[in-house]
């Protein structure tokens, strides 16, 4: 390993440690975590401080970055593409095939009135409100009459798959975060990264690895949409009344019995709020995902932009909003249903 790559490896560790340090809640973490994080901060300060002092003394600026982190990441991704590109491509094709099947099922096999009725039924089941069911039918009829049914179903299928993947990863991660303070301290900066890093930044390597298309879209959507679910799962479990948990322990429940029998059921309203947030975030990714070749409403918006047809862009955007409203109201109604009998009342 060259000196540069070793240096950048240590730089990465130091940067992560520094981020962890700023993420630590004061006075609540083990001394070891604190020392490691402080060492990271010290390393970053020392290296940049020395380099700054050196360039000031010598009066020359370094030709390449002091910490060639970017270069090393390039090399890592290149290596991955060369080594595993074919394998990842196969996975990609297989998954795209599955999603494609789902997609075709949604907009070819099921007639739109049937679909509208199905969603209206779900909405009624969630809310017991005819008004909401009617709203769903109206929204779907509007989308159909805008002649955007096919892209809407494409988007809906991508959303469903992304959401499935997000829940499959996000829920266990959130549960683990609630069980271990150390794991939570590690995940918090990572989640900050996932939420605030501009999506294009991780779209580049994802596209290099998986190629353009649906699967990359699913990956990018998951990265963006998973954090709220993880955070709210963790928070929901941690917010469960301490005395109720104490009661479970006092009656001899194991940790697993307490977690699955008491904590998670009581955290469900918060977890549902996390799912709701994830859906909204995933919808926000639709347009960006269209730039890496994901078909659907995002693509329609993109066409509108490229061909300078504001009308086309608007109706596609309107369809996204309608879809968002339908999904939001349904998940919120389920959240409210779950909240009944889950609050401690005195």
């Amino acid at each position: 390993m060259s000196i540069a790559s070793a240096l950048s490896f240590f730089a990465c560790v130091a940067i992560v440690a520094a981020i962890v340090y700023f993420g630590l809640a004061p006075g609540r973490h083990a001394a070891r975590t604190r020392i490691a994080a402080s060492a990271g901060v010290a390393a970053v300060l020392l290296v940049t401080g020395f380099a700054g002092g050196w360039s000031a003394l010598v009066g020359e600026r370094p030709e390449m970055p002091l910490l060639p982190v970017g270069e090393q990441i390039d090399r890592l991704v290149d290596w991955l593409v060369v080594r595993y590109g074919d394998f990842l491509g196969d996975i990609n094709n297989w998954i795209v095939h599955k999603i494609g099947f789902f997609e075709r099922f949604l907009h070819q096999s099921v007639a739109w009135p049937l679909m509208a009725l199905l969603f209206a039924a779900i909405a009624f089941h969630a809310s017991r409100s005819l008004l909401l069911a009617a709203t769903v039918v109206v929204a779907f009829a509007l989308i159909w009459s805008l002649d955007l049914w096919t892209p809407t179903m494409q988007t809906l299928s991508l959303m469903s798959v992304s959401l499935l993947v997000t829940v499959a990863f996000g829920l266990p991660t959130g549960i683990l975060m609630s069980q271990s303070d150390r794991f939570r301290a590690l995940m918090t900066p990572i989640l900050d990264f996932m939420q605030t890093m501009p999506s294009f930044v991780y779209l580049i390597p994802v596209v290099m690895l998986f190629g353009l298309g649906t699967f990359s879209g699913v990956m990018a959507t998951m990265i963006y949409a998973a954090p709220p679910l993880m955070r709210l799962t963790d928070l929901g479990i941690r917010l469960v009344d301490k005395e109720v948990i104490e009661a479970a322990t006092a009656f001899g429940a194991t940790r697993r019995q307490t977690l699955f029998g008491v904590q998670i059921p009581l955290a469900l309203p918060n977890i549902m709020a996390g799912v709701n947030q994830s859906i909204m975030m995933a919808l926000a990714m639709v347009v960006i995902a269209s730039m890496i070749g994901v078909r659907g409403l995002g693509q329609e918006v993109l066409y509108g932009l490229q061909r300078q047809e504001p009308g086309a862009g608007f109706v596609a955007g309107l369809s996204i909003v309608l879809l968002a409203i339908v999904l939001d109201r349904i998940t919120q109604a389920y959240g409210r249903r779950l909240a009944a009998h889950r609050q401690v009342v005195h």
């Binding site: 009661a247 009656f251 009581l266 609050q343 009342v345």
Partner: protein, 397 residues
């Protein structure tokens, strides 16, 4: 069934509690320790014996460490030092598995804010302690039946399918009580179980607990900040202050012989009339048989501060009373049976508040009798008044 014995149990909260034990033993006080080291004393060197089958009340103000202490008994909190023996076994040596079994089988708990599972029905809540150890569905169903029985016992029959949020506070705590009773655990830990309830409901729950306890004879450790409640429920009472025990004793001990200034200040406002019983306050009386000659009785009464003799029949039951002056003025041939005057009597368990009106019936001291009517002693009017006014010389004085 075994007694619970605590030996020198100490709990210090903070990052390095073990280092501070010596300082604590040397008598460092709570405020200094907190200021110098950031540690809080929860429980300070408590040694106690909690008798099996009795109701032991730990009483103290908030922050006195009573809730911390009770959580040591099922190791929801681990002590910094000390031993907790149950049936002679140190429960602090239990491994996690043994501890879980101990919690399931031997102890149960009732919480101040009920701590019911809001997502489970009343029936499921009551069956929780049983179902935690259930292996299959058949067992679960049997447990629900057992829980149904206890729900009926606490007076909630018909509410099995409701959720806790649909019940009032008092009803919720009944569910908590049913949940604790259902496991048949011999030790029931009750942490301020009735403190969150309205006074009327609280009294009702206390009555219910007393009724259940006369039948079930569980070992109850009851935590409260309410002295009246402590005196009402406790066979024995421990008074805690700043993590340490100030005094342990029967309710009468506490009221009549406060061991420390703190306890004395504490009991100042107690309505003694409702706590002290005729039996506890009685004086020794001169008791004579119906057939004894009056002269012999006179001789017995000579020199007594209160020249009254109580006449007992052949079974020892109260027949009446005679005074010195009545005996002196009597005809020579009169028998005690003829001389004896009716005298008010009070069962030993009657509280002074209820004894007081009896003194209006006669100038003679009230006779204190047991359940069968046998004479145990006497209770003069001025002694009752002195006891109520808290100016009480020790018994026999």
């Amino acid at each position: 069934m075994g007694d619970i014995v605590l030996r020198n149990v100490t709990k210090i909260f903070g990052p390095t509690p073990a280092r501070l034990l010596d300082q604590l033993r040397a008598g460092a006080n709570k405020g200094d320790l907190l200021a110098q080291t950031g540690h809080t004393i929860g429980v300070r060197d408590v040694s106690l014996t909690i008798e099996a089958g009795r109701c032991f009340v730990v009483m103290g103000l908030s922050g006195s460490g009573k809730s911390t202490l009770v959580r040591h008994l099922n190791r929801l909190i681990e002590p910094t030092a000390g031993e907790i023996l149950f049936d002679g076994k140190d429960i602090l040596r239990f491994d996690p598995d043994a501890l879980r079994r101990f919690r399931r089988d031997r102890t149960s708990m009732v919480f101040q804010r009920f701590a019911l599972f809001p997502h489970k029905t009343v029936l499921e809540n009551a069956a929780y302690g049983l179902n935690v150890q259930a292996r299959d569905r058949a067992e679960r169903r049997a447990n629900l039946e057992k829980a149904r029985h206890w729900i009926a016992r606490v007076g909630l029959a018909g509410y099995e399918a409701q959720y806790p949020s649909q019940l009032s506070g008092g009803m919720q705590q009944r569910v908590g009580l049913a949940r604790a009773l259902a496991t048949d655990a011999e030790v029931m830990l009750m942490d301020e179980a009735f403190s969150a309830l309205d006074p009327l409901i609280r009294r009702e729950m206390q009555d219910q607990l007393i009724r259940l306890q006369t039948e079930l004879k569980r070992t109850i450790v009851f935590i409260t900040h309410d002295l009246d409640e402590a005196l009402r429920l406790g066979d024995r009472i421990a008074i805690m202050n700043d993590g340490a025990i100030e005094q342990v004793g029967s309710p009468e001990d506490i009221l009549q012989r406060p061991a420390t200034e703190y306890v004395a200040r504490f009991i100042e406002d107690v309505n003694r009339g409702r706590v002290l019983t005729a039996g506890a306050m009685r004086l020794e009386a001169v008791i004579v048989g119906e057939s004894e000659p009056p002269e012999a009785v006179l001789a017995k009464l000579h020199g007594q501060a209160l020249p009254v003799a109580y006449v007992a029949d052949a079974e020892g039951r109260l027949a009446g009373a005679v005074t010195e002056s009545m005996l002196r003025g009597a005809a020579p041939a009169a028998t005690l049976r003829a001389l004896a005057q009716p005298v008010p009597s009070a069962p030993a368990s009657l509280v002074l508040e209820r004894v007081l009106p009896l003194t209006l019936e006669s100038d003679l001291p009230v006779a204190v009798v047991d359940d069968a009517g046998r004479i145990l002693g006497m209770l003069p009017k001025d002694r009752i008044i002195a006891a109520l006014a808290a100016h009480l010389p020790g018994p026999g004085a």
